[in-house]
């Protein structure tokens, strides 16, 4: 019976962890020193800025709890909102924004909050509501933090401007141009991108091919990139809160699927999954020459493949303008210290701080007031061959069109991702796999 309890234990532990997170995450209401509890993932909250805030406010402790994205924006937040106990600040990724915008009851309406005197010294005026800050940010990114009842539930942190990171040395070896402007001209369209990939692969030696080398890290990543270049995804904004499901009729979905399948069948990708150990190793070994890289991925590449410094460069994305990811900082309705949390957010996501974060960690600011700021435009990154990354990503981000995000977008994305995986692994034909995708999506939507 022991084994039974242990196995059940693993489930119990995860459940308990969620419950514990709900209970323990809430700071005890102490007299003066205040602990703001923050639930986040990845590098949304940067250590150096936390330290800076500590210097500004010695009385406030920022307690950061990191989780993986899916449990964080899924189970943990659902549990917290149901039990009405939890953190003071939660990071919500845009893939989940559609879901959480439909539950504004779980968040503090930031239109009703006013900044206190706390950060006047740091340049944040007192008495300002969320609407006073709206003008600082990219309008469509701001919308991703607006509930379906028009309440403001979150401030945008970064925008995942998407470009192509490529290896100069490998391009040279394959006889392709290496200068970033010329590289960008290789692929004005996705079809040209695929053609470049085929050309690159044809130059690989037999040994390289056997070692699984290829042009792009994973052809499946093209799907999200193409998808986000449209104006609609799986939902049409028909004036209702939830929107109307159009996943099976939207031509953009079909186009993104077909193009990705074409790239997969052309074999331009290495089929290495992103964020796997193989991916990290491949980055160092030059297993792939390109990655569709959102701005925030630059820091990841630096961390994982420090020895490849200077060998990378950034070129523009096929089709022009791309976006992937980005986060909203929200104050839940059950926060213990909504005022302090709001003060923290307005400071942390103010343009000055976003610029610092961009320079240190490459998270591209959602604060659009910075986009004509020389400090951003002139910023060059030596790791990426001194590419003017600020300028490149700013240009790309401004081309992105706003997309209406629906409630179950993440689940639909996952079903389609699995479908692409089946084709890539040659487990199913594209047609069969798409049929399965539709079945899977219907299962999620219905019952």
């Amino acid at each position: 019976m022991r084994k039974k309890t242990l196995f059940r234990g693993s489930i119990a532990v995860s459940t308990a962890a969620i419950l514990a997170a709900g209970v323990l995450g809430t700071p005890a209401r102490a007299a003066d020193p205040i602990t703001i509890s923050i639930w986040t993932f990845g590098d949304v909250i940067q250590r150096t800025l936390v330290q800076e805030y500590k210097n500004l406010h010695p009385e406030i402790t920022l307690q950061i709890k990191k989780s993986d994205l899916d449990p964080l924006n899924g189970t943990n937040m659902v549990t917290a909102c149901t039990s009405k106990t939890g953190p003071d600040v939660v990071a919500v990724e845009v893939q989940y924004s559609g879901y959480w915008r439909s539950y504004p009851k779980c968040f503090t309406d930031l239109r009703k909050m006013k900044t206190s005197e706390a950060n006047v010294v740091a340049g944040i005026p007192a008495g300002k509501t969320a609407l006073d800050f709206k003008k600082n940010y990219l309008p469509w990114r701001w919308e991703q933090g607006v509930g379906y009842d028009d309440s403001v539930i979150g401030f945008p942190t970064d925008v995942g401007g998407l470009e192509v990171a490529y290896r100069i040395d490998l391009f040279k070896k394959a006889g392709l141009p290496t200068e970033r402007g010329a590289v960008g001209k290789l692929w004005p369209t996705w079809d040209k991108f695929i053609a470049t990939g085929v050309k690159y692969n044809s130059k690989l030696s037999a040994a390289d091919k056997k070692a699984g080398k290829g042009f792009l890290d994973n052809a499946g990543t093209m799907y999200a990139a193409i998808m986000n270049q449209g104006t609609e995804k799986y939902y049409k904004n028909d004036g209702t809160d939830a929107g109307k499901l159009i996943y099976d009729t939207n031509p953009q979905v079909k186009k993104a699927w077909d193009t990705t399948i074409k790239a997969t069948e052309a074999g331009i990708g290495t089929r290495i999954g992103q964020y796997t150990s193989d991916w990290n190793i491949g980055m160092n070994k030059g297993t792939f020459a390109t990655i569709l890289a959102p701005a925030w991925m630059m820091d990841y590449i630096k961390q994982q493949a420090p020895d490849t410094s200077g060998k990378w460069d950034i070129a523009s994305l096929p089709g022009g303008g791309g976006n992937q990811g980005g986060t909203q900082l929200t104050v839940p309705s059950y926060a213990k210290y909504p005022q302090e949390a709001y003060d923290f957010i307005t400071w942390y996501l103010a343009p000055e701080q976003q610029l610092k974060v961009f320079k240190t960690y490459g998270l591209f600011p959602a604060a659009s007031v910075l986009y004509d700021d020389a400090a951003l435009l002139d910023y060059k990154d030596p790791f990426f061959n001194n590419a003017p990354v600020g300028k490149i990503y700013a240009e790309g981000v401004l081309k992105v069109k706003p997309i209406f995000e629906g409630k179950l977008q993440r689940a639909i994305d996952q079903a389609i991702g699995a479908g692409l995986g089946r084709v890539a692994a040659k487990k199913m034909t594209a047609v069969k796999s798409w049929a399965q995708v539709i079945v899977d999506i219907k299962k999620v939507i219905n019952n």
Partner: protein
Amino acid sequence: MSQLKVKEGRRKAPLSPWKSANPKKAAKSKKPSEGVASLDHRFGIPFIAPFFLIFLVFGLAPVIYSIYISFYKWDPLGGSTFNGVQNFVTLWGDSDFWLAIRNTFSIWALSTFPQMAMAIGLAVILRSKRLRGASFWRTIFLVPNITSVIAITIVFGQLFGRDFGIINGILGIFGVDNIDFIEGIVPSHIQIAAMITWRWVGYNTLIFLASMLAIPDELYESASVDGATKWQQFIYVTLPQLKNTITFVLVVGTIGGLQVFAEPQQLAADGGSSKQFLTLTLFLYNQAFVNNKYGYAAAIGIAITVIVLIISVINFLITRRISNDGSGR
């Protein structure tokens, strides 16, 4: 059931053969002292009450509640509506459910049987009186069991990596093409089974070892007097004596096998692109905590219970046959 049997068996045979059986002493120690006898046996109730209270709150209540919500369309944020038996009807027609059953039993078979053979083999080695540092080895064997599943999955994920994994590297020496231990159905099951085996083989070894130590030395002595080789002793003395323990390990392994969750979840949270390693509990978890279909998930939970019940009955019948045929202890 079987657990009780094993315990009875153990009680009859003293735990270690060399401390063996002075029948008089045993009879003496069985006689309760007067002090204990004078106590009202109800006195014990407060001592076990905490367990039952906790079980009531955290064990029984959730079970009853999940039976209740299995008849509802139940979303923690969106509210609930009565759904009748619709959840069960949907489940019966859900191909993912049958896929999960297939995967669960395949992983169970791949992890249980090789593991059992290995555990018995290791127990024989650990039992050997020529082995030095016996307690050291016994402790070492238990270490995998207390290792975090997450850590195990990360390490095994690297070992089984498709392109740079060491296993494919070794297979490559023999000219085998790289195997995709995630996308392939059987390969992915092998990877998960390997993790389970690694984690549990030591634990089962110790169970077998305890049971082997309880086999009286006289049996081996008389066997060797009769001219039995070591191998024959193993086949004709050790194995028959282990019958009940094997059943016990099998039952426990089956129940554990039906609950395999963390390993596949860590490999790919959705159970793979073709759901090739979606197990029953992972299926349940994803319906509840990813898709927020708590009612449907509760129905899956009940289905798992039914499957466990069926297997328990089969196990019970087999155990009864074994203990009836007289050769078991």
